[in-house]
């Protein structure tokens, strides 16, 4: 008896209980959809954070009265520090020119501005290994202690909030994943029990006529596995459609702020893993339903 026979039998049984199966698969799909959404969000925020970290720099605003000579000495000193890749000195004049360039359209308003009101600054680019929120924060705190420094800016609060959000998302995805497995196992186990009840006469006849336990049980395991697989596949399909629509809307804005950064869908490995988890949990549900049923 080939595997195709058992799959056909399982599919036939599922078709006979169409409404129940639809509800079970729907429940599994909704649960999977939540889990996959969390996974997709955390994945994209991860990319987003990574891209942001590449661009991140620390700006040291210097106190009034710190001359160019002193500033350049500080620049040279900082350039030798571990984790700092590049330091650029922005004089008061350059700061003003840059400001005027950025707001060129406002012509008249900018007239009469003097370079004195713009603080000189040092823009610090970090080495790759130093672009984590923790290291940036530590470095920024150390730089603030330098006598010539008035203020340190690095978008720290924003970065930290984002990385905390990402941390919660990742944990949320795992907790949801655990709950998901319990949901699938219990949904498939209950549906398999229902099929078992509907087919009790057929099973009794098959067993009395000499069918082996494996022959009787296999379609129930498969039914659970197929429910889990179909539920996972359905949720992925729905998520992909929504993702596609959403990314069409959001991508232009993303490229505006983050250049080449694009939203990404789950990788093929992850998709295969999700389908595998769906099927394995469903098989487990089928196994539990038969273990509890009398006579097995």
């Amino acid at each position: 008896m080939g595997a195709s026979y058992f799959i056909q039998r399982a599919l036939g049984d599922m078709k006979e209980n169409g409404v129940t199966q639809f509800l079970s698969i729907g429940t599994i799909a909704i649960s999977f959809f939540l889990f996959c959404s969390f996974l997709l969000l955390s994945l994209n925020f991860d990319f987003f954070l990574e891209a942001w970290e590449k661009k991140v720099q620390i700006i040291l605003y210097l106190k009034d009265g710190v001359g160019e000579k002193k500033a350049l000495q500080l620049k040279n000193k900082l350039q030798r520090e571990e984790g700092i890749r590049e330091v650029r000195y922005i004089s008061q004049r350059k700061a003003m020119e840059s400001f005027k360039r950025d707001l060129a359209g406002y012509g008249g308003v900018l007239e009469g501005l003097k370079e004195k009101i713009f603080p000189a600054s040092l823009e610090i680019k970090l080495g790759e290994n130093f672009r984590t929120p923790e290291r940036i924060r530590a470095l920024a705190a150390r730089l603030l202690n330098i006598q010539e420094v008035e203020e340190v800016q690095y978008g720290g609060a924003w970065l930290e909030r984002l990385s905390l959000f990402l941390y919660i998302l990742r944990w949320g995805a795992w907790v949801l994943g655990g709950i998901l497995v319990i949901i699938i196992v219990s949904v498939t186990a209950n549906t398999a029990r229902l099929t078992l009840f509907n087919k009790r006469e057929e099973i009794e006849i098959m067993r009395l006529m000499g069918a082996t336990n494996a022959f009787v049980k296999l379609p129930f395991y498969l039914e659970g596995g197929l429910q889990g697989l179909f539920g996972a596949a359905g949720s992925l399909l729905l998520l992909f459609l929504l993702f596609h629509v959403f990314s069409l809307e959001v991508s232009p804005y993303l490229s505006l702020y983050f250049g080449q950064l694009r939203l990404s869908f789950l990788s093929p490995d992850l998709i295969a893993g999700i389908l595998g988890v769906g099927m394995a949990s469903g098989l487990l549900g089928g196994f539990f339903s038969l273990r509890k049923a009398a006579g097995f």
Binding site: M1, E202, I205, M206, G210, N213
Partner: protein, 218 residues
């Protein structure tokens, strides 16, 4: 060949179903197990297919010690025995063909062999081929029991057990079914019929094992 050696069976609540049962049924023999309701007839048949386990004693079926079989070996014992029920136990949501083929599929027969076997067995039980596409509840009681017998015989078992096979049938159909079982016996199959109908036993003049309150009498 079926042999019982001092078999005892008690159900929970200390209900004695069978006590000190010993007998031998030869290969190809036709035997009645008789007795009123509750005498232990069905229990006796169930012990032969290991649907029940005795408390004491040994049971041999075709040389196999039924009481000592491992669970994994039970299906192979049952493949040597066909079973017919009083209430037919046909699946009304399946066609006659599917009811019969279910057994062959479960026993691993090749798909190409199944139609041929079903045609043969329908001829033996005297059913026309037109019934194969119908569902059992559209057939008469006699036809349904013929389908049940066909299902029990389709894998050519050496033993056929029938538990009150005519219990739900009117007298005319009862004779037809009993004639069919006699025909099956004449083809070399051991047939054991459990019945409470003493007229039937008297009419067919076969060996009878009379049971009363779980014991063989007479």
């Amino acid at each position: 060949m079926i042999q019982f050696f001092q078999v005892y069976k008690t159900y929970p609540g200390n209900i004695e179903a069978l006590a000190d049962i010993s007998f031998k049924i030869e290969k190809g023999e036709f035997v009645f197990i008789t007795g009123p309701s509750g005498a232990g007839k069905t229990t006796l048949l169930k012990l032969m297919i290991r649907a029940e386990m005795p408390d004491r004693g040994e049971i041999l079926v075709n040389g196999k010690n039924v009481t000592r079989l491992k669970n994994s070996q039970i299906p192979f014992l049952r493949r040597e025995i066909g079973f017919v029920f009083q209430d037919f136990k046909l699946l009304n949501y399946r066609t006659v063909y599917e009811n019969i083929s279910l057994v062959l599929v479960a026993l691993g027969y090749k798909m190409s062999e199944i139609p041929k076997r079903i045609r043969q067995v329908l001829r033996i039980v005297g059913l026309e081929e037109r019934v194969v596409k119908q569902t059992p509840f559209k057939l008469s009681g006699g036809e349904q029991q013929r389908v049940a017998i066909a299902r029990a015989l389709v894998n050519t078992p050496s033993i056929l057990l029938a538990d009150e096979p005519t219990g739900n049938l009117d007298p005319g159909i009862t004779v037809e079914i009993m004639d069919l079982l006699e025909k099956v016996s004449s083809l070399g199959t051991t047939v054991v019929v459990a019945t409470h109908d003493t007229n039937l036993v008297a009419k067919y003049k076969k060996r009878a094992l009379p049971l009363y309150r779980g014991r063989l009498v007479g």
